[in-house]
């Protein structure tokens, strides 16, 4: 058995997973225990569940389907700026949602660029608000993520396979059947499950672009139970429903993607592709890359253009907040490094462990925050803990993404180098340092960068804890907006975007160096 070959104690990972589960389920339990009598779920709550699931399924499906041609095109074409483009495409995911939504509306809104173009030719503006608006926004956020996960799947097909396929004269169809479909079967369900889970806990995006209370998600219902009715019991029931939905998606995805790709291991050459040389597929790939870039980068440049004027004259409080945000991001990134690595190593033995990570993504930030607040309050001042709490919760929130890219990589290393390592008597730290870490550096860099960037933009958990004079940058942006200072807020948002992107880029570049 290949999976016996791993000579690293899996119990660190199991311990880390237990810690994560305790954070998510424990806080939920605390909130439920704090207020045992819960209000009953009414018809409007079930309507919220239905809306949440349908928009999440559709958003995830479209993101994954659109990501496939983009990832394929990026995998088989080499062009100037390709690597920068891959990194840039990740940016929507890293921006705080409200900033990205503003960017999206500058392009697709009622008075956005697209509508202005349509007006020139005498057409009515496009109606962005509604169910489709929610889906468009979610695809905008998650297409890059799906592309990255699937692109990594493509990169995991060894160069030798493509060479062999070319020698055997594979047709485009043969390529799909023998190389690409087995890879997609392994990579796509995981991407779907993650995006589904992300969209489950969406709230501000769904409400704003959904155009009204029709677009009520479960997270909004939780929010209502918490602050409108102060019904913590009901909030915890709704949060459990959200977790069950994400958990089922995770298990389903694991079940569908079962089985190894069976590609064998190559010599880590850069894959040269002989297929796709005909004009049709060249056009197809060019179109895929162009369309995706336009869809993702134009709204981002709108954010940049909106903020560039104000960024030089930002108030000093904003710079202080930026410094605090960097501190949180660094803490979060180091925590994510240890959690993700140890859980991924344990996943070689216990595949189900990945679903623990997925829970984190669907966990309601409001419920986690409230649970932690109730737990910490009798012991210490919650304000003093704001930084630690934000960093840890965000490290946990980044875990699902980290695991999704790390686990397949660790599994590959184990399947192909496990026996050799064992015969050489490598185990423990030496195995980790000499064999595993160098081979999983790319996904690890990606994962750590993601954790850092996500915690930089967090507004969910920090709101309950934030000390008055220690506002992180996202909170400061909200304060600026709340004080009518929309221009300064746009400048600060651009700064936040640049910082999130910068920290992600540094980690990601470290991972992909020489790769």
């Amino acid at each position: 058995m290949a999976d016996r070959a791993q000579q690293i104690n899996p119990w660190f990972g199991v311990g880390a997973a237990a810690l994560v589960a305790a954070l998510i389920l424990g806080t939920l339990g605390i909130v439920a225990f704090y207020a045992p009598d819960a209000g009953r779920l009414g018809p409007s709550d079930w309507a919220a569940v239905r809306f949440t699931v349908s928009q999440a399924v559709l958003s995830a499906l479209i993101s994954v389907i659109c990501a496939i041609p983009v990832a394929r095109a990026l995998n088989r074409r080499r062009f100037f700026g390709r690597s920068l483009l891959i990194t840039l495409l990740g940016a929507p995911f890293l921006l705080p949602v409200i900033v990205a939504v503003m960017g999206l509306l500058t392009v697709f809104g009622r008075s956005g660029w697209v509508s202005q173009l349509l007006e020139l030719v005498g057409l009515p503006p496009i109606p962005i608000y509604g169910f489709h608006g929610v889906v468009i926004a979610h695809v905008f956020f998650n297409l890059p993520l799906a592309t990255r996960v699937i692109l990594q799947g493509w990169s995991s097909i060894p160069a030798e396979r493509f060479r062999l396929a070319a020698q055997l004269g594979f047709s485009a169809r043969d390529m799909v059947v023998h190389l690409e479909w087995p890879m997609l079967k392994r990579a796509a369900p995981g991407a779907f499950a993650i995006i589904f889970a992300i969209c489950l806990s969406s709230f501000a995006v769904a409400l704003t672009l959904g155009g009204g209370p029709r677009a009520t998600t479960v997270e909004l219902a939780i929010y209502q139970a918490f602050r409108f009715d102060f019904d913590l019991g009901k909030a915890s029931i709704l949060a459990s429903i959200q977790l069950v939905m994400a958990g089922s998606a995770a298990l389903l995805a694991l079940w569908v993607s079962q089985g190894q790709g069976g590609f064998g291991k190559g010599l880590d050459r850069v894959a040269a592709r002989w297929d796709g040389a005909n004009r049709l597929s060249l056009w197809g790939d060019t179109c895929a890359i162009l369309l995706a870039s336009l869809f993702l980068l134009v709204p981002l440049s709108a954010v940049a253009m909106r903020g560039i004027g104000a960024i030089t004259e930002l108030p000093s409080a904003v710079w202080f907040s930026a410094w605090l945000s960097i501190k949180v991001a660094l803490m979060s990134a180091s925590l994510a490094f240890f959690l993700a690595l140890s859980i991924a190593l344990a996943a070689v033995r216990f595949a189900w462990i990945e679903s623990v990570g997925l829970l984190a993504i669907a966990a309601s930030p409001l419920v986690i925050g409230t649970g932690l607040f109730i737990a910490i309050f009798p012991l210490a001042s919650p304000q003093e803990c704001a930084m630690v709490v934000t960093a840890s919760v965000n490290a946990v929130m980044a875990l699902p993404f980290a695991l999704r890219v790390l686990i397949p990589a660790v599994q590959d290393v184990n399947a192909h180098y496990g026996r050799l390592s064992m015969s050489l008597g490598l185990s423990g730290f030496a195995l980790l340092r000499l064999v595993i870490l160098p081979r999983i550096r790319a996904p690890l860099g990606f994962a750590v960068g993601l954790a850092a960037a996500l915690s930089m933009g967090d507004l969910g958990v920090v709101a309950l804890f934030a000390a008055t004079d220690e506002a992180t940058l996202p909170l400061q942006i909200f304060r600026l907006m709340g004080a009518y200072r929309m221009d300064a807020a746009a400048g600060a948002a651009l700064l936040l975007g640049l910082m999130s992107f910068g920290v992600f880029w540094i980690c990601d570049a470290w991972g992909r160096r020489n790769a």
């Binding site: 500058t106 009204g212 029709r214 709101a463 907006m481």
Partner: protein, 325 residues
Amino acid sequence: MKYLGCIAGVFAASMAAAETPELVVYTYDSFVSDWGPGPAVEKAFEAECACDLKFVGAGDGAALLARIKLEGARTDADVVLGLDTNLTAAAMETELFAPHSVSADYSLPIAWDDATFVPYDWGYFAFVHKDGVDAPANLKALGESDLKIVIQDPRSSTPGLGLLMWVKSAYGDEAPAIWDGLSDNIVTVTKGWSEAYGLFLEGEADMALSYTTSPAYHLIAEEDAGFAAASFEEGHYLQVEVAGKLAGSDQSELADKFLAFMVGDAFQTIIPTTNWMYPAVTPADGLPKGFETLVTPEKSLLVPAVDAPALRDAALAEWLTALSK
């Protein structure tokens, strides 16, 4: 490293008590921000109290009340500042608040005689628009017009709840019909005030639900006279923001002193151009220049605090039904 205090906090709490008395005031986040009244108020009060005034920001008014409920009798707060009349009944139910001894010559458009809560500012909800928009004269006309508006969700936002109460108190049983009329004018519903006002400024809607005082910000801070609030014939719903002292406060005297300071000149002069609301007591020097240009509604609407919770639930159900069609 500040966050080590998380662990040390338990021990430190028992030791720090002996020094300068500390008054802890819980308030909403925008009050304490660098652009809100918080910093100036802190400076002014500390100059005369020989104490340390510590503001703790917690979301908005409703989140503030939830926070107090979570913390219960063990709360560190001595004063809670930032509830409004939609929340005071629920706040009374917690039995955490103590009566005040403040009296002042309020400039509120209604009579104020609450034994527990002291008002510090107030404002009218209104639809704000840019120049060049042909503003309707009432909510019905707004519903019949082609104007696009952006409002806030009453479940997550104080102004959103304000509009709910506005429609309900002005139209009673006719409220569902008003919402029916408005439903095709509503571009979208946002989580909070900031998003809605942001969308309006970006040109996504002709009008946004805000306050009659919003144009004052543009006029005074940005020197832009191009904004106005539409004046509606049925009257405008009032928001009165209040503060209360907690019964379990360990600085009871200081808390009383703060509430008295709050309706005094120093505090009240800070309010108009930082919180962009009307002061509860007009300062000796009057309102800042520019406030005289604002619309003053002929009629003020306000549901009594005790009736607010019941009315709120009924109005929310109507709102959801009308806008979910």
